[in-house]
Symmetry: C2
Subunit: 145 residues, 2 copies
């Protein structure tokens, strides 16, 4: 069992955020001891799920919906499975997009390194759009596709 302060340190989240999540109903199982929140393994796991659903772009109210389903037991297994299947696709798409963004960023790193070396962007401009060094060309093409 943990206090809100301990959980705040464990997850590196402000106490105010944890209380806000609680108010929004994200810890439907949480117990209290004379008014004080008691976070158990149950809530720790809930927080891991919250972070994961948040990372997938889900809104707080939809995370609450999931918590509500979890309280309803076996009859909502299918809904919960569908939710995670959908989040899986969203996260996979997001990773793919970030990889593309990363290639753009890597290209720009090379771009400015080269501009610093040359003192100007003229040499680079002359190589655009398809006469870049092979590995850089790949980054550029991927970032501009």
């Amino acid at each position: 069992m943990y206090t809100i302060g301990q959980i705040s340190e464990m997850f590196n989240l402000p106490i105010s955020t944890l209380r806000y999540y609680d108010m929004e109903g994200l810890f439907p199982q949480m117990q209290r001891q004379s008014g004080i929140r008691k976070f158990s393994e149950n809530e720790v796991e809930a927080l891991r799920v919250i972070e994961c659903l948040k990372a997938s772009g889900l809104e707080i109210k939809d995370i609450k919906q999931f918590m509500d389903w979890a309280m309803q037991g076996a009859e909502t297994y299918e809904k919960r499975r569908e939710l995670f299947e959908a989040r899986r696709e969203v996260i996979e798409a997001e990773i793919a997009n970030l990889k593309k963004m990363l290639d753009m960023v890597k290209f720009k790193c090379w771009y400015y390194e080269t501009a610093i070396k040359d003192g100007n962007e003229d040499g680079i401009s002359a190589m655009l759009p398809d006469k870049l060094p092979k590995d850089i060309q790949e980054l550029y093409d991927n970032a501009h596709s």
Copy 2:
């Protein structure tokens, strides 16, 4: 040269968002023809950079800062290089985090598939935390590390 409507379709962004970006100073080079915005290749590339910096978590005002640097020419190459190096680290960290979240989501997909098959969560509970099927155990361990 493109109109705001064409750019809106190209990037799948609302016209209002493009005008908002312009108001925030993200297209410092943009020309106008009797009041009407003319997006050139320059602005198209700016927008690609905007999307990439946004994806890396940069705020609009910091993207404007970058655009201001770009207007100042060669003297800000180093600042711009440092910015992209920093964004690179942020994006790499974000991809790593999303991969972890993805493992949690995959674990949960298996969890509910199994719960649906079994009609309850008892069998799964009995396998936790370290007697899961090998491939699932890997997902679980990664998601809980």
